[in-house]
Symmetry: C2
Subunit: 318 residues, 2 copies
């Protein structure tokens, strides 16, 4: 894990570093959804990013920032899905080895992607303790560099590049809404907004069944996640320390969303925008629909964070 | 029905006429799918068109081409789905009345869209005879102008604008693959290619369970459709006379596709491109995957014709 705290210069450096590798994803708009939400929406389409999620930005920044000697020993991480796939893809791009520790509760299709991108997969029990222990073993055995999914300055800086592109393509925004799990995307977005759009409010969409970020920001200290229960498989991690500090400074506000509303928003995005997004992405749109009065008439940016869904287990079919 | 045969000037006129109303949809690319297909694919994303299908081009052209006095009596059509929704949407845009005759076997979500766009819906039995009889009644009662879903010069000309945009965005192409049902999109595409890319081959993807276009072009005369049996609900209509003449002149070639291959291609487009497309759109990609040797190394344009799917009845869940 990088020890230093990420700042806006790191976001700019990340943008330059990943430019040859990552996609500049489009910003999508929909009159139909604007009408439903009562505001002007700009969707940053990170489900169209390489690997199907914004995670390629942070993982790519971490991988390409490594000095050659260190890179040669490979990278490792623990991940229930998108970060693992992204790190595998970035490592393959640089031609280095990647080990991904995958917990028992990972989504099948995400596990398959990690393996397809060429990573060595290590299974472990679910829960953060088992994941970290398994990663420590890999580091011990191989000398690989740990790239934490969110509590890592290079990862946070990389994730911030999505908000830079969103602002550049959408123009001035009154509010930006991103999902929050471990807080990498949220913190990176906070860094970009603080520098480029200080008057723009940052909202974090969090599942009510995994509401540790809301608790932490309300109490002013990190509250550990306990027994997350949500359909948003990408948002089950507890908020990380580096992200917490950045989000607190930015005055980010959490909007809690029930899973049923997330699933309904996901259906709308599929049906009206024809975009395959996962629950952890749709939650940002659900948060806007659930707080219409707050966003009424505003220019609202949302990050559609990923689109890796098990097509055989759609949440509305459950 | 417009009696005159559409020509390329009509396509150009249609492009200018619908420009204020229709979207210039993007052309999507995917390294992953290029790798699978062994050629360079350019997907014209007509599922992102207004109403979720290319049909808005032809219907919009027909509606905005009407003289004011005639328009004031409204329009009518029969449609199992996307054309009906498109005509309703275009009529609403011009502020005129629209009657849509919908057969019993229409997809539920498409029927709902027709009503939501404000058309008066008339149900009838399935089969072309019942549809035409019901339309004739509407014309008799209201004086509405019939806008046939595909055997209409204005409709064919409008559909041809998608290929114009595809060529402009993708650059030179060696082949273009479009789905064929009634032949409106296919004939419009043929007109555009004949004028702008005469060396580009036109392929028509047709369900093997509704193969009347293949039979007609092989025999050199229109073979009526009989008992179509395919998951492609947008391709059950028999090839229309005007389309047949244009396609024959262009030397278009039919590629027959089994439903199972269409469904597999649809899954790939959802999973890898994150795009919600319907079976009648995915068939074009399935046709390319089923004839890899023919397309090897070529620059291939495909029209993703629509994205209106019943999310509660996905074909791979059947």
């Amino acid at each position: 894990m990088s020890a230093a705290v990420a700042n806006f210069d790191d976001v700019l450096a990340a943008a330059a570093r990943i430019a040859p590798h990552a996609c500049t994803t489009p910003v999508l708009r929909s009159r139909a959804l604007d009408g439903l939400a009562g505001c002007r929406l700009a969707f940053k389409a990170e489900h169209l990013q390489r690997g199907g999620a914004f995670k390629f930005r942070g993982a790519g920044n971490a991988v390409w920032a490594l000095p050659a000697a260190e890179a040669s020993r490979g990278v490792t991480t623990h991940s229930s899905g998108n970060h693992g796939g992204a790190l595998a893809l970035a490592a393959a791009g640089r031609g280095i080895r990647c080990h991904v520790v995958v917990p028992a509760d990972a989504v099948r299709s995400k596990l398959a992607a990690i393996a397809a991108y060429g990573a060595v997969v290590h299974r472990c029990a679910s829960g953060i303790a088992a994941r970290e222990a398994a990663c420590a073993q890999v580091v011990e055995a191989t000398g690989a560099r740990m790239v934490h999914p969110y509590a890592d300055a290079a990862v946070i800086a990389g994730q911030g590049t999505a908000a830079l592109e969103l602002l550049a393509a959408a123009g001035p925004l009154d509010a930006v809404v991103v999902p929050v799990g471990g807080g990498g995307l949220a913190a990176g977005t906070a860094l970009a907004l603080a520098a480029c759009a200080p008057q723009c409010r940052l909202y974090l969409a969090e599942p009510s069944g995994a509401a540790d970020a809301a608790a932490s920001l309300a109490r002013g200290e990190l509250v550990p996640a306990s027994a997350p229960d949500t359909v948003c498989d990408g948002l089950r991690a507890g908020l990380g320390g580096p992200g917490f500090g950045i989000l607190r400074r930015q005055g980010a506000e959490v909007l809690l969303v029930d899973d049923a509303d997330t699933v309904a928003a996901m259906r709308l995005l599929w049906q009206r925008m024809k975009q395959v997004v996962e629950p952890s992405a749709a939650i940002a749109f659900a948060a806007v629909l659930g707080a219409r009065e707050r966003f009424a008439g505003l220019r609202v940016g949302l990050v559609l964070s990923g689109g890796n869904v098990d097509l055989d287990a759609l949440p509305w079919a459950a």
